[in-house]
Point group: C2
Chain length 346, copies 2
Amino acid sequence: MLPKQKKPTMPELAKLAGVDVSTVSRALNDSPVVKTETKERIRKIAEETGYVMNVSARNLRKQSSEAIGIVIPLRPESGQGISDPFFLEMVGAVSSAASKRGYDLIVHLPEGEQTIAEKRLLQTGRADGLIVIGQAGLSERLNRLGDIINKVVVWGGSEKNESYTLVGSDNKAGGYAVGAHLLSLGKRRILFIGSLALPEVKLRYNGLLEAYNTVNLTHPSDLVLELDFGGQEAHDRVARLIEDGCKFDAIFASSDVLAIAALHAVQAKGLSVPGDVAMVGYDNIGQSGMIMPPLTTVDQNIKLGGEIMVNLLLRKLAGEEVSSQLTPTSLVVRETTVARVGRARI
Amino acid sequence: MLPKQKKPTMPELAKLAGVDVSTVSRALNDSPVVKTETKERIRKIAEETGYVMNVSARNLRKQSSEAIGIVIPLRPESGQGISDPFFLEMVGAVSSAASKRGYDLIVHLPEGEQTIAEKRLLQTGRADGLIVIGQAGLSERLNRLGDIINKVVVWGGSEKNESYTLVGSDNKAGGYAVGAHLLSLGKRRILFIGSLALPEVKLRYNGLLEAYNTVNLTHPSDLVLELDFGGQEAHDRVARLIEDGCKFDAIFASSDVLAIAALHAVQAKGLSVPGDVAMVGYDNIGQSGMIMPPLTTVDQNIKLGGEIMVNLLLRKLAGEEVSSQLTPTSLVVRETTVARVGRARI
DNA sequence: TATCAAAACCCAATCGATTGCAATTTTTGT
DNA sequence: ACAAAAATTGCAATCGATTGGGTTTTGATA
């Protein structure tokens, strides 16, 4: 590390290069009106002096921040806690997609019920746009974003006709694939676990119902276990169901975290998996392949999803008109095969 | 959402209030030199017009950004993948601690081997300081941070005498607690799983050794399973160990993710847990309580850790002299009791 | 060599807030 | 009631970069 007294600024580079700061600015921004050799001379000086541009100054002048915010509105009351690996993977995917385009990522994990204070991120000019992960109980609020609607992209499941730009995996196709898979294995009483209040989950459930329909069966309506508090609750309530004599030959959990919790409840009750009860999750988190037995699950292709969201957001910010988009999901059947399913537009 | 034409600026507020912008600025910053009623009048106007300050402008002038960066240098080659819930919990803890003090959090997940390009976050003025999570293979690099060393706080395990400010849970005490617990259960052949190249892990291992010493025993040197590739590898190698006839009556994994992987390998081999093999993890991630049997583990109190790191960082930024700090860990013995262990300074 | 367009560069205003210092008003002391 | 001290507020420079428009150079043409 060289001594490096202080960070040089553009005026200083200008002095060194014997040109005006405007020329330095244009040179560093590769403007075509600067002579090539001048550019190179200036760049070399910038290089040597270790010049780095002050982003606050640029942002102030250009009225933009080259940063996007990511908001993860975890419902504290919901069990979909922060420990669900799904979220970090999503942050990772978005972060990498953003930095690939030279954007920084500002994370915001709202606490409590705050209004969508995330809007501040935009209004203060800290972020140019916002990515919201999951509609978790605020889909109505999202529909009232008002003037910032064209700076926001949401990850989630499509409801009727949301007014905001939505990106999500094809939850219905995913649910259908799971249902078809289980039905083809001869399973008939599939217990669905999840919070139907969440659009993503509701769609997965609908996919399951459709799978039943396709083979002229109907899903037993008593086999839905609505949850609000995540893993621990899933574990306990599945155990209670079994104690109460509820019979099912498969479980379709709306997340791997729930599936793993349910899995252990089932095993604890002396039932075998997948013999007595087949088990399918959703998300394909790292651990789903490491547990015993390995979990069949649905991969949402988060990496791609993050990429698309950033893409769409930047295009929106550029004034382009964009439409919501679905990403493909794939059923990951452990130990056997992988089937790819639907892709479509919403 | 009101029509809200455009965002008002300070000069506009000044005009409305009939004062100079300097007065507005002071009023909004609660300067004591502004008369109270003037302050209130200005604030009311700001409120009504929905004024929000442009941070770029403030940052430019004040030469600060009110934001800190968090860097999570995952070693791609290491299995400690991004899916480890530990990291998100850490991001959450830091994010909440930061926002409590009005700071934003910029996440940076470096890809590949990049130099510590995160320095750019500082040099460009985007972030005032940096929090680095885990030394993952770059502890030497961290020791050469140079001029930015007083803007960085690292989470990890203490080596000999690192030059940077370090915050971490008391890994040695954690390891000791685990060892003491297992030994008190009569276990003697404890298999340690983890990558000793990571200071945190090394310290946990040392704690285990110390526990053995305390009861005048020594840890069988063949019972160390060094890993580089995380869960899947842990699963496979534990299985292989068993096949190869390696005998052990307990496993101490350096993370819950590894423990869960090992757990299933053990169970798959027909061994009972904790009857044949006791199993202890580290981190107390959400799932550790939901698996079967529930995992005894060590809680690092990440929430507190995040809080302390932000605290220390801000104090460093304020020019204060701070020293590294350990946070307490607690052994979480599932189904039984919870024992709190050590706290100290490094 | 004079003329003119194109190329390259410089000037100066601007983005929105902060802050030392000067100017003004209010309060206090006598 | 008047000067001095204290409390408020205004002026203007400043942070570091961008950019429209004007000026100087270059070089080609006649």
